[in-house]
């Protein structure tokens, strides 16, 4: 599974963020999710989808080695994380998400929920591009 992104198809609905929060944390709170959507309005009129591509830069800078590679996915061990924020600064895509209620950043676990329910095909499995659900 690989998280593919087509910004130009994003309608800004935040289904991805909402299902992410329910899947990762058992809460309904798009602010507590591992991706975000930034609007660029009124001009040029598009959304930017900020997602993790599992590049591993976060793991490289983590001073306590709390971010570990498991089956191609980097995951934060919250027991070891000190909340220093080095990974947040190092992430080239701005995809280590800080939520006001927690010191530990939120990172994509590549669970696939967002791509399964993106109605626009803006998020899709880049390994299986023909299976995207969206209309666009």
């Amino acid at each position: 599974m690989k998280l593919g992104v087509k910004d130009e198809l994003c309608s800004g609905c935040k289904i991805c963020q909402t299902i992410c929060s329910l899947t990762l944390f058992d809460v309904c709170n798009p602010k507590r999710s591992a991706l975000k959507i930034v609007g660029h309005f009124p001009a040029p009129g598009r959304y930017e989808v900020v997602t993790c591509d599992q590049c591993g830069d976060c793991a490289e800078v983590c001073p306590v080695e709390a971010i570990k590679l498991e089956n191609g996915v980097y995951k934060i061990d919250r027991d070891e994380c000190t909340g220093c924020g080095a990974c947040v600064d190092a992430c080239p895509k701005g995809a280590m998400i800080l939520w006001r209620g927690d010191d530990v950043p939120i990172k994509c676990t590549l669970c696939g929920a967002c791509m399964e329910f993106c109605p626009r095909g803006a998020l899709y499995d880049a390994d299986k591009p023909s299976e995207q659900a969206g209309v666009a």
Partner: protein
């Protein structure tokens, strides 16, 4: 502990600059659900009888529902409400976008705004931090301009609701704007915000929505999204959104054209949904958790001027396009942009502009009144009149009161073609040959608005000449459809894509833990309908049957062209429709709920307050 509700109400007094946070009463949630239900109950309770809609005693409400902000199809809606400056009675208008969900995430189901600020201000909410901030530098700016400025100042994660200069100038067709193209357009709600010197509401929330059983909501949400994805309309309806219906409305001869003088626009194909998609579309833009985005964010060019604008959606195509007879989609979109920036509702805006042009054609208002000659089909005329209205310049000061008051001032027979009911301009369906749709306009609590009972499809399905069964259908729709406005869900999955109504009790119960069926939900719909009628009786001194009639054009003039040529409903037929409607509702023939009906709905005190017992 309530589930699906933030559980708190923010109560702000702009006069004293004080605010309190109070718990959401469980009884309110159980008896009125949220959104429009909260607005209805709160306006009746909190507004002093006889309050001036533009004075400090009017109350502006912003209310979400239990589904707002939750992982479910199209759960974005938030309702604004106040005593309407347009009608003098009950007023509400809802919008989608992302500010209803944001309000829930900040920890509030509803905001109650009282009093009036001395100077321009905006309400700043960041979770528990609430401030009334200075907005002097934003006063006089357009709605889009203001949203852009506040996003730049506070960050993209803040959601903004704002007014344009029309709201500042207390124009009675002013809207509240959000998300660069979503509006709570109707009932002059923007003027209430302007009267409080409240330029904007900026909200940021990070708390999420409290749910008793999030795993169940996730499962139900997934199933409901899958059910929606499986509907043919999911792929077929979305590309054109609401404007896709332009063709059908013309084919059935009900497209408002030339100030509702006819029901068909020659050349409508140039301004339909296909034209929007092929000529000006930039992006399909959606509200919170919307899988079928109707927002057609666009870029338009007209005579060297250009603009980004969301839409035009169907109502704008109908009222600015058909009713003002613009012949190119680029022009409709440009006029849409102008009204959005000024902060004018495009439905009432199109109605007021078309009324003004007809008055000019008939010599009721002059070139010197207007500052120039105007004509149907001319985008510059539309833009010119919209500016006069928003700034209250010249004759614009009269037109800014809406067509009812304007025609009363202008006289000379203009009342006949002042296209409104109760002071609210008619929305996008010419109703002379659709009795159920007409009755829906006549009896709607806020005036001539389509969103309580979109009955035109029923007229076409069962026979448009027929009167039997129409009143019963309108009543059924008036109870069912507003329930979606109470829970915070958009109606389009149901109306446009065929997502069955049967899904909703399951959805509502999964979120709230209540045990609703459509029977119990419709009962709430009926309670709210009657409560709003009581509000109108209390607030409008001579309110009754006479407020439920359409303008004479509807029953005196034949439709002169198109598929419905030669048709019009008669006054006798209108009387029969009203009689049947009142009888079925348990109202007197003067349109007042009987005491026993109100008692059956648990509204005894309200019956007393309105002098009906």
């Amino acid at each position: 502990m309530l589930s699906g509700y933030a559980g708190r109400i923010l109560d702000v007094d702009l006069g004293s600059k004080q605010f309190t946070v109070k718990p959401l009463p469980e009884r309110l949630a159980r008896e009125y659900l949220g959104g429009r239900g909260f607005v209805s109950r709160t306006l009746f309770d909190e507004i002093e009888p006889g309050a001036d809609p533009l004075g400090p005693k009017n109350v502006l409400i912003m209310a979400s529902g239990p589904l707002t902000g939750v992982f479910l199809p199209c759960s974005s809606k938030v309702e604004f409400g106040a005593k309407s400056p347009a009608t003098g009675g009950y007023g509400d208008s809802n919008m989608g976008g992302h500010i209803g969900s944001e309000l829930k995430y900040a920890g509030y189901d509803m905001i109650i705004i009282r009093g009036q600020s001395q100077s321009p201000c905006y309400l700043y909410i960041d979770d528990d931090r609430v401030e009334i901030k200075d907005a002097s530098d934003l006063w006089g700016k357009g709605a889009i301009e203001t949203e852009t400025a506040l996003k730049a100042r506070l960050g993209d994660e803040f959601q903004i609701a704002t007014i344009g200069v029309a709201g500042e100038n207390l124009v009675k067709i002013a809207c509240i704007s959000h998300d660069f193209g979503r509006q709570a357009g109707r009932t002059g709600i923007g003027a209430v915000m302007g009267s409080k010197k409240l330029k904007a509401i900026a909200v940021h929330g990070t708390k999420g929505v409290p749910l008793a059983d999030p795993a169940k909501v996730l499962e139900v949400g997934k199933n409901k999204f899958r059910a929606l994805f499986a509907k043919p309309g999911f792929k077929e309806w979305t590309p054109y959104g609401t404007a896709g219906i332009t063709d059908w409305v013309n084919e059935v001869g009900s497209f408002p054209t030339r100030n509702f003088s006819t029901g068909y626009l020659e050349g409508y194909e140039a301004i339909n949904g296909k034209a929007v998609r092929e000529k000006i579309l930039v992006l399909d833009k959606g509200c919170f958790c919307c899988a079928i985005p109707c927002g057609k964010y666009s870029h338009t060019r007209v005579n060297g001027r250009e603009a980004y604008v969301e839409g035009p959606e169907y109502e704008t195509v109908a009222l600015i396009g058909g009713n003002c007879m613009l012949s190119k989609v680029e022009e409709v979109a440009y006029a849409n942009y102008v009204m959005d920036e000024l902060g004018i509702d495009t439905i009432s805006g199109g109605g007021v502009v078309a009324f003004a042009i007809e008055c000019f054609e008939r010599g009721i208002i002059s070139e010197s009144d207007l500052g120039r000659a105007v004509r149907f089909g001319d985008v510059d005329s539309v833009v010119h009149i919209a500016n006069l209205v928003a700034k209250r310049e010249g004759i614009g000061d009269v037109l800014a009161e809406g067509v009812r008051t304007a025609s009363a001032k202008l006289g000379r027979g203009s009342e006949k073609f002042a296209m409104h009911v109760k002071g609210l301009e008619i929305s996008g369906y010419e109703p002379r040959n659709t009795p159920a749709m007409l009755l829906a306009y006549m009896t709607c609590d806020v005036g001539a608005h389509h969103n309580r009972a979109w009955a035109i499809t029923y007229d076409i399905a069962v026979g448009r000449e027929k009167l039997e069964g129409k009143a019963a259908k309108v009543i059924e729709l008036q109870h069912v459809r507003p329930v979606l406005d109470m829970v915070g869900a958009c109606r389009f999955p149901w109306i446009e894509v065929g997502f069955e109504l049967e899904h909703y009790p399951e959805i509502i119960n999964a979120v709230t833990g209540f045990s609703h069926t459509w029977e119990t939900l419709s009962a709430i719909g009926e309670r709210v309908w009657n409560l709003n009628r009581c509000f109108n009786i209390r607030e409008i001194p001579d309110f009754g049957r006479k407020y439920d009639y359409p303008p004479a054009r509807i029953y005196e003039e034949d439709i002169p062209s198109g598929p419905t040529k030669g048709k019009h409903i008669t006054l006798e037929q209108i009387e029969a429709l009203l009689d049947e409607y009142y009888d079925l509702r348990g109202w007197t023939r003067d349109g007042k709920p009987k005491a026993e009906k109100l008692a059956a709905l648990g509204l005894e005190e309200e019956a007393r307050a309105c002098g009906m017992v």
